[in-house]
């Protein structure tokens, strides 16, 4: 289970996330919602230590995966990211690699050489990402020849190939059309059987459709969290109600 406690994130001393504590139950989908600039993407990127790469970013508090602090002294950010994968807002396949090489990039570039292993990993990751049937005859093609939705599913396959425990998704459908979005949402339900998903979304219908739990952020703070059904039918806080009924945001 992924959890954070009293998490604060600041950029050049400007706080963006102000003391958030949250649990993300295993094998469930948790949606993080909130208006633009509320810190939801910033929060998500703390869970796989992406802020380590940003000069001026400072993360305090704890993030634990199965009880281990991922920011602990003995933890290597590179290894942490193999356990906690990420899919970005815009599909970002590697344009210099084939579809096949994209899927296994996370294995081959850390030293996995065995062809059989790579081949199997690619096939099962593409199946998990519901892309296998569409690309099985063109694995050597350039990924840029795929549609936007296919590219995003390729990025999901690429993340799944390293077998993470948690998949972080940063508005994975915001650049896609409704049909491509539906395919990815469908895929999320199947992924839930094997890993936890944390999805940041702008789209409240999407949060309501796909997630088990929802967390509502506002101005860098956690306003409310709970079962998605309850949050959307009977929110406890006034701000949550105003946001999900579209009064602001």
């Amino acid at each position: 289970m992924l959890a954070c406690h009293d998490l604060q994130i600041e950029f050049n001393r400007v706080p963006v996330v102000r003391g958030i504590s949250l649990d993300f139950p295993a094998r469930k989908i948790t949606a993080i919602i909130g208006p633009s600039g509320c810190g939801k993407s910033t929060l998500l990127r703390a869970f796989n230590r992406m802020h380590d790469l940003t000069p001026g970013a400072r993360v305090t508090g704890t993030v634990t995966l199965d009880g281990r602090d991922i920011y602990g002294k003995a933890e290597d950010a590179v290894l942490v990211r193999r356990r906690i994968g990420m899919v970005f807002q815009k599909p970002n396949p590697f344009p210099t690699m084939s579809i096949f090489d994209n899927v296994i990039a996370g294995l081959r570039l850390v030293g996995v050489r065995n062809r059989g292993t790579l081949r199997e990993a690619a096939e099962s990751a593409l199946m998990d990402a519901a892309l296998w049937d569409e690309v099985k005859d063109r694995l050597k093609s350039n990924p840029m020849s795929l549609s936007g939705g296919q590219q995003q599913r390729l990025c999901i396959a690429r993340a799944l190939a390293v077998d993470p425990k948690v998949l972080l998704m940063d508005e994975p459908c915001s650049a896609l059309d409704p049909i491509a979005t539906a395919k990815i949402e469908e895929l999320l339900f199947r992924l839930r059987e094997r890993l936890s998903v944390v999805i940041v979304t702008h789209n409240m219908q999407q949060a309501a459709r796909v997630s088990d739990y929802t967390a509502f952020l506002w101005m860098g703070q956690l306003i409310e969290t709970g079962l998605t059904e309850k949050m959307f039918t009977n929110p406890k806080e006034r701000t949550t109600e105003d946001y999900i009924t579209g009064r602001f945001g």
Binding site: V78, R82, G85, F94, P95, A105, L109
Partner: protein, 269 residues
């Protein structure tokens, strides 16, 4: 107004065509297999070629390239992929300054470092001078090309738990490779034509030399010597050599254009 600008544009390209026409007209006469296979003859005897200068240039430029390219690319990768922004900006500033230093001063530096301690001119010192001149060009073009690689690709690499050095080599440099190769070819063209620093480093040699410690002939320097000589036949060879040099540089430029075009086409496909 448009007419005036058109005229200016025509005037701007006139030197190129005037130069090419002149070069071909004067150089074609010397352009034969002898130019590539024979050594120069003593003054007054007709015939001979520039084998020593052509091969000498290849050797000196080759030696400078073999050292300059890995160091230049390594420095650019460090500055773009690993260094803190302030460190990268400082290093880049040094490279910008370095690239503006006149080539004859770089020759002087090689003279001071190698020629004086060794007490004689050498191919090695010529290669060192050319390496100094080439280095900032390679660093700057490689860095520009790496900057064009979208940050999202590096992020994707990090998110997969790929180590930083592997992201730099297999993702960033690989994506920028066609641009980097173009930069390399252009920097080779740049140093292949350098004459001033050769005057007191490689020095020139009327014979074929393979010894890095001995003076060696280079094409631009030989052209200079032959062009100012009083002998008709050496003038002819100078034009022939100029044609070889220009064709080589033109070839490198066209090749770099082709690589870029081919890469862009393959990205669209």
């Amino acid at each position: 107004m448009e007419g005036v600008c058109l005229l200016a544009a025509l005037i701007a390209v006139v030197p190129l065509f005037a130069f090419l026409w002149h070069l071909v007209a004067m150089g074609a006469g010397a352009f034969s297999s002898a130019l590539f296979t024979q050594l120069p003859l003593p003054p007054g005897e007709a015939g001979g070629g520039l084998k020593n200068a052509i091969l000498g240039s290849v050797l000196v430029v080759g030696a400078a390239t073999v050292v300059g390219i890995p160091v230049g690319i390594g420095a650019a990768v460090f500055m773009t992929e690993f260094a803190k922004p302030r460190v990268a900006a400082t290093l880049r500033f040094f490279c910008d300054v370095l690239s503006g230093i006149p080539s004859i001063v770089m020759g002087l530096l090689a003279f001071q470092i190698l020629v004086r301690p060794m007490h004689h001119f050498s191919a090695l010192s010529g290669a060192l001078a050319l390496g100094f001149i080439m280095l900032p060009v390679v660093v700057i073009t490689t860095q520009e090309m790496l900057h064009l690689v979208p940050h999202s690709l590096r992020e994707a690499g990090h998110a997969l738990g790929i180590p930083a050095w592997r992201i730099a080599s297999s993702i960033s440099v690989r994506a920028a490779a066609p641009g980097i190769i173009t930069g390399i070819l252009l920097s080779i063209s740049r140093i292949a034509g350098e004459t001033a620093p050769m005057l007191f480093t490689a020095f020139g040699n009327p014979f074929m030399s393979w010894d890095p410690r001995a003076p060696i002939a280079t094409l631009p320097h030989t052209i200079f010597n032959y062009a100012i000589s009083p002998y008709e036949d050496w003038h002819r060879l100078a034009w022939g050599g100029a044609l070889v040099l220009v064709l080589g540089i033109l070839g490198a430029t066209l090749l770099s254009r082709f690589i870029l075009w081919w890469h862009q086409r393959s990205l669209r496909a």
